[in-house]
C-alpha cells in the first residue's frame, strides 16, 4: 500500500510539471486550477504516506533507478525522514489550496503556468531529497530544489530588486552545494560508499572538517548567521505563496540534513554542540533585533525565520551537549523540542506568509506604514494573522509555546552539568533566549497592530476588501492545526511513547475556557450591559485622523534606542551657511544609514576579493596565440616532472 502511495504521488507531481510546461504558452485558468487540485491531492497522498510511517514507526525503502555502479536513485524513509515529509506535504497542501485563489492575481498566463510547473517540481524535489538514501540522490534533488526556487524567486523579473535578490540567492545556494559536496566526498573517501549510514573510525581532524563543511553548507541554506543575508532578499522578492513554501519548508530541509548527519551518521563531540548553541543564540537574537526595525512586512517575517532557525539550532546544540555527557533524557527533551519547533515554525510561518500575501495583494504595498484598520474589512484574514502572531510569540496554549517550553525546560535543568564554564554559558544562553522570545512578542504586537488595527493610513488600505475563499481556507487549515497541536501536545507525545516533563496543555486549555465562561457569566450578571460607541479620546482634539496614530517606526523606537550599539545608525548631517559665522542656514542634507554589519564587513569584502581574483584570472585568458602555446609548454613540462617524481 505504501508503495502505491509513494509512486502515485511521485507520478502526479511529475505529470503536473510536464503538463504545465507543455501548456505554458497557452494554458488557461482551468488547467491551472486542475493542476493545483491535482497537486493538492498528491500532497495529501504523501501526507498519508508519511503519517503512516511516523505513527507506526516503520520504515520504507524503494529503489527507483540505477544510474551506474555506484550512483543510484533509491529512497529509504525512516521516522525522521517521514516526519519531515509530513511537514513538507502538510504545508504544501495548504499552500496549494491558497494558490488556487492567489495565483490568479499574479502576472501573465505564461508566467502563471510556469510558476505552477516549477512549484510542483520544487515540492517533489524537497520530498525526494528528504527520502533520499544516498548522498548522490540527495545532492541531485538539492540542486533541483535550488534551481526551481531560483526560478520562482525570479517571478517578477521586471523589477531590478527582484533580479538582484535572485542572483544573490543563487550564488549563496551554489556555495552551500559546494560545501555539501566537499563534505560528502570526504565521507566517501573514508567509507567508500555514498550511503547515508553511520560513519565510524574517522580521525578527529577529518571529522571536524566534515562537520564544519556540513554545518556551513546546511547553515547557508537554513539561514544561520552569518550566512543569512540572502534570506530577507529572496523571501521578500518572491510571490507570497512561494515565500511561504521557502520559509516554511525549504529551510527545514536543511535542518533535516543537519539532524540526520549529527544524530545518525557522525558521532558528535561536545564542542560541536557548544558551537551550534552559540551560532543558534547569535542568529536568534540578531534575527529578532533586525526584524524589529523592518517595515517591509515580508522582510520582517524573513528575519523572524532566521530567529526561529536560531531557536531550532539552540535545541540541537543542547541535545549534543547533553548527549555528550550521557544525560539522554534531557537530550531527548531538547531534540524533540527542537524538532517540534521545526513543525510549529513551518506551520505558523507559512500561515503568516499566506495571510501577508492576501494583505499585500489587497493593498498593493509591502510597507506596513501604509496599512491599517484592515481587520474591519478583512476580518477572517485578520483573525488568521492573529492566530499566527500568537503562535510565533509563544503564548500559551498554542503550539509555539509548547516547543519553546521544552527548550526552556532543557535549559533550566542544565544545572546538572558539572563544568562551571558550560553552566555559565548555558545560563547566559537561557537569558538571551528569553530576551529573543520577548522581543518576538513585541515585534508581532507591532506587526499585527499597525497592519490590522486602528484606522487606514493610506488610500489603498481604505479600499481593501476581503479575499477569495481559497485564500482563507488554506491558512485556516494551518491555523486550526496550530491550535490543536498546542492544546493536545502532551497527548500526542505520550501516544508516541515520549513521556516528557511538560504540562498537559489540554487541561490548561480547558481551565482557560472554563474560566472564560465563568467570568463572562459573572460579568453578564453583575455588570451593566449597555454599550455605545464614540470617538477616541484625543486630548481635546475633535477630529481624529490617521496621522495621529502611532507609526511602526515610532513603535520600535524605544527598542532601537536601547539596542543602539547593535544597530549603529549613522547620521550624516551637512549644512551650508550663508555667512562665515554659521548662523544663517542656507541648505543641508541629512542622511540616516543603518550599519549593515554583515553586508559591509563580511559579504562585500569577500565579494570584492573574489571579483578581483576572477578579473585577474580572466585577464590571463585574454592573450595571443604565442602565450597560449607558452601555457601548453609549461603544462607539459610540469606533467613530465610530476610523472618523474611520483613514479
Amino acid at each position: 500500500m505504501m508503495n502505491l502511495l509513494f509512486i502515485c504521488g511521485l507520478c502526479v507531481f511529475l505529470g503536473i510539471t510536464l503538463a504545465q510546461m507543455i501548456f505554458a504558452a497557452g494554458g488557461s485558468a482551468v488547467t491551472r486550477r486542475f493542476s493545483l487540485w491535482a497537486m493538492l491531492g498528491a500532497n495529501l497522498l504523501f501526507l498519508a504516506f508519511s503519517l503512516i510511517i511516523v505513527l507506526r514507526n516503520t520504515t520504507f525503502s524503494y529503489d527507483l533507478y540505477q544510474l551506474s555502479d555506484t550512483l543510484r536513485f533509491s529512497f529509504s524513509v525512516d521516522r525522521l525522514a517521514a516526519y519531515f515529509m509530513m511537514i513538507i506535504s502538510l504545508v504544501s497542501a495548504a499552500v496549494c489550496l491558497y494558490s488556487l485563489g492567489y495565483i490568479e492575481h499574479q502576472g501573465s498566463d505564461t508566467g502563471k503556468n510556469f510558476l505552477v510547473a516549477t512549484m510542483s517540481l520544487f515540492i517533489l524535489s524537497m520530498l525526494l531529497l528528504v527520502a533520499a538514501d544516498n548522498t548522490f540522490c540527495l545532492l541531485f534533488f538539492w540542486e533541483t530544489m535550488s534551481l526551481t526556487s531560483f526560478f520562482m524567486v525570479l517571478f517578477e523579473r521586471e523589477k531590478a530588486d527582484t533580479r538582484k535578490s535572485a542572483m544573490f540567492y543563487f550564488v549563496m545556494t551554489q556555495m552551500s552545494t559546494t560545501f555539501l559536496m566537499f563534505a560528502f566526498i570526504a565521507i566517501y573517501h573514508v567509507t567508500g560508499s555514498f550511503d547515508i549510514t553511520a560513519v565510524t573510525g574517522v580521525s578527529p581532524f577529518l571529522k571536524a572538517v566534515i562537520f564544519l563543511s556540513l554545518f556551513i553548507g546546511f547553515g547557508i541554506k537554513a539561514g544561520v548567521m552569518p550566512f543569512h543575508k540572502w534570506l530577507p532578499y529572496a523571501h521578500s522578492a518572491s510571490p507570497s505563496n512561494i515565500s511561504a513554501l521557502m520559509s516554511g519548508v525549504m529551510i527545514k530541509v536543511a535542518i533535516y540534513g543537519l539532524v540526520r548527519y549529527l544524530v545518525f551518521v557522525l558521532s558528535p563531540d561536545r564542542w560541536w554542540g557548544v558551537m551550534i548553541l552559540i551560532f543558534g543564540t547569535f542568529s536568534a537574537l540578531l534575527g529578532v533585533i533586525y526584524a524589529l526595525k523592518e517595515h517591509d512586512i515580508k522582510k520582517l517575517l524573513a528575519y523572524h525565520s532566521i530567529e526561529n532557525i536560531g531557536i531550532i539550532l539552540i535545541g540541537i546544540g543542547l541535545y549534543l551537549i547533553f548527549q555528550s555527557y550521557g544525560f539522554t533524557d534531557l537530550a531527548m527533551l531538547a531534540l524533540i523540542g527542537s524538532l517540534f519547533h521545526t513543525l510549529n515554525h513551518a506551520l505558523f510561518k507559512s500561515l503568516l506568509f499566506l495571510t501577508t500575501g492576501s494583505v499585500v495583494n489587497e493593498t498593493g504595498t509591502r510597507n506596513i506604514e501604509k496599512m491599517g484598520g484592515l481587520i474591519k474589512v478583512m476580518p477572517y484574514t485578520g483573525v488568521l494573522f492573529l492566530i499566527g502572531s500568537i503562535s510565533i510569540a509563544a503564548l500559551p496554549p498554542f503550539n509555539g509555546f509548547v516547543s519553546e517550553l521544552m527548550i526552556f525546560q532543557a535549559f533550566l535543568q542544565s544545572s546538572i552539568i558539572s563544568n562551571p564554564f558550560l553552566k555559565i554559558l548555558l545560563f547566559l544562553g537561557l537569558s538571551l533566549f528569553a530576551l529573543t522570545s520577548a522581543l518576538a512578542a513585541a515585534c508581532f504586537v507591532k506587526a499585527f497592530g499597525i497592519i490590522f488595527l486602528a484606522t487606514p493610513r493610506s488610500e489603498e488600505a481604505k479600499k481593501a476588501k476581503e479575499v477569495s475563499w481559497y485564500m482563507i481556507a488554506g491558512p485556516a487549515v494551518i491555523a486550526a492545526l496550530c491550535m490543536l497541536l498546542g492544546i493536545f501536545s502532551f497527548q500526542l507525545f505520550s501516544s508516541q511513547g515520549f513521556i516528557l516533563p511538560i504540562p498537559n496543555m489540554m487541561f490548561i486549555g480547558l481551565t482557560l475556557v472554563v474560566t472564560l465562561g465563568l467570568v463572562w457569566l459573572l460579568m453578564r450578571m453583575i455588570s451593566n450591559r449597555t454599550t455605545r460607541t464614540s470617538e477616541t479620546w484625543g486630548c481635546g482634539i475633535t477630529s481624529q485622523n490617521s496621522k495621529m496614530e502611532y507609526t511602526a517606526s515610532g513603535f520600535s523606537e524605544p527598542i532601537l534606542t536601547i539596542f543602539r550599539p547593535i544597530y549603529r545608525t549613522r547620521k550624516n548631517v551637512e549644512r551650508t551657511y550663508h555667512d562665515g559665522g554659521k548662523s544663517i542656514f542656507k541648505d543641508g542634507t541629512a542622511e540616516i544609514q543603518t550599519f549593515k554589519l554583515f553586508e559591509e564587513r563580511i559579504y562585500l569584502p569577500v565579494a570584492h576579493f573574489v571579483l578581483r581574483l576572477s578579473t585577474y584570472v580572466s585577464n590571463l585568458h585574454d592573450v595571443d596565440l604565442d602565450t597560449y602555446i607558452l601555457y601548453s609548454f609549461g603544462a607539459v613540462v610540469i606533467l613530465i616532472l610530476a610523472i618523474g617524481w611520483l613514479v
Binding site: 545560563f427 537561557l430 520577548a438 504586537v445 497592530g449 474560566t515 451593566n528 502611532y550 534606542t561 536601547i562
Partner: protein, 304 residues
C-alpha cells in the same frame, strides 16, 4: 481554587494600602483602605463606551486579561500548597500566561488609534522584553537553589528548609523586588497615579476602557501584583504555608499571608515615595542591577 478566590478578594486591599502609605509620606490622609473595592463596584455599574476605530480586540482583551491572570494565580500557592497536577505550577507557563495578558493589552492599546495607546504599547512591550531575561534568570536561580522548576515544589522545599540565612536568597529577593516594581508599574518605572505623559507605560493602555471593562483590567492588574508579591513572600518567609487542607491551618495561613503581604505593601509604598520616576532610558540600568544580582546568585551557587 482556594488560593485563587483568596487572591481575588484580597488584591484590591493591597493596592489601597500602598496608596495610603504613599499618602502618609506625602503628609495627607489618603483614601480609605476599602477605596479600591468601592471603585470597582462603581465601575461595574457604568456603561461601556467603545471608540469607532476599535475592533473586536478591545472587546475581548479585558476577558482574556482576567482569565490569564486568574489561571496564573492557580499556579502560585499563597494559602496552601496543592498536590502536583497535570503540570500546574510550571514556572515557565506561569510567566508566559502573564506575558499573554500583556500581549493582548498592548494590542488593544494600538486598537483605538490614539497616540497615547500606541506609546503605551510600545514602551510596555520594550520594557517587558528587557526585563524578561532578568525574570528568567531569577527563576532559574531559584530553580537551582530549590532543585525544581515547579512553583508548588519550590514553595514546599522552602517550607522545609529555612532559606533565610542563605545569602543567595537575599540577592534573589532583591531581584524579585525590582521585578515586582517593574511588573506592577510602580515608581521609578511608571507612575500608577496618573494617566498622561509622565507615565506612558501601563496606565495609558487603559485609557480607552470604561465601565466593567476598566474594572476587569484594574482587577487583573491588582491580582498580578499580589501574585508577584506572593512569590516574593513565600520564597523568603514561608512560615504559615501549609500543605494540608485543614480549617485551622488554613486560617493561620490566611492571617500570616495578610500580615506578610501588608508589610511588603508598606515597604513598596515607602520605596515608591523615596524615589522619583526615572527617565525612560535610564530604566535599563535598573534592570541591569537586577540582572547582576540574580546572575551573582548563580555564580555563588557555583562557588559552593
Amino acid at each position: 481554587m482556594l488560593n485563587t478566590a483568596f487572591i481575588v478578594l484580597i488584591s484590591p486591599l493591597f493596592v489601597s494600602l500602598i496608596k495610603k502609605v504613599k499618602a502618609f509620606t506625602q503628609g495627607r490622609q489618603g483614601p480609605p483602605l476599602l477605596q479600591t473595592y468601592y471603585i470597582l463596584v462603581k465601575l461595574l455599574k457604568k456603561e461601556r463606551v467603545y471608540s469607532n476605530n476599535t475592533s473586536l480586540i478591545i472587546r475581548i482583551t479585558p476577558y482574556i486579561n482576567v482569565v490569564c491572570v486568574i489561571v496564573a494565580s492557580l499556579f502560585v500557592p499563597v494559602v496552601y500548597i496543592p498536590g502536583l497536577f497535570a503540570g500546574f505550577g510550571n514556572v515557565i507557563l506561569f510567566l508566559y500566561l502573564l506575558v499573554c495578558a500583556k500581549f493582548f493589552m498592548a494590542l488593544a492599546g494600538l486598537d483605538a488609534g490614539s497616540t497615547f495607546g500606541g506609546m503605551g504599547s510600545s514602551r510596555e512591550m520594550t520594557f517587558s522584553a528587557v526585563i524578561e531575561p532578568v525574570i528568567i534568570i531569577v527563576f532559574a536561580a531559584l530553580g537551582l537553589l530549590l532543585k525544581t522548576t515547579n512553583l508548588y515544589e519550590m514553595f514546599a522545599m522552602s517550607l522545609k528548609s529555612s532559606l533565610l540565612i542563605n545569602p543567595s536568597t537575599l540577592l534573589i529577593s532583591l531581584s524579585l523586588f525590582i521585578i515586582l516594581i517593574v511588573e506592577s508599574s510602580r515608581i521609578p518605572v511608571d507612575n500608577p497615579e496618573t494617566h498622561l505623559e509622565l507615565t506612558m507605560i501601563h496606565e495609558t493602555m487603559l485609557l480607552e476602557y470604561s465601565g466593567p471593562d476598566l474594572a476587569m483590567m484594574e482587577m487583573a492588574h491588582a491580582v498580578k501584583q499580589t501574585l508577584l508579591m506572593a512569590v516574593l513572600i513565600n520564597v523568603l518567609f514561608p512560615w504559615g504555608l501549609t500543605a494540608a487542607p485543614d480549617v485551622l491551618t488554613i486560617a493561620i495561613s490566611l492571617t500570616a499571608f495578610i500580615a506578610k503581604a501588608a508589610i511588603l505593601a508598606v515597604a513598596v509604598g515607602i520605596f515608591e515615595s523615596l524615589f522619583a520616576k526615572s527617565r525612560l532610558f535610564r530604566l535599563p540600568n535598573l534592570f541591569m542591577l537586577a540582572f547582576f544580582f540574580s546572575f551573582s546568585t548563580i555564580l555563588f551557587e557555583l562557588l559552593k
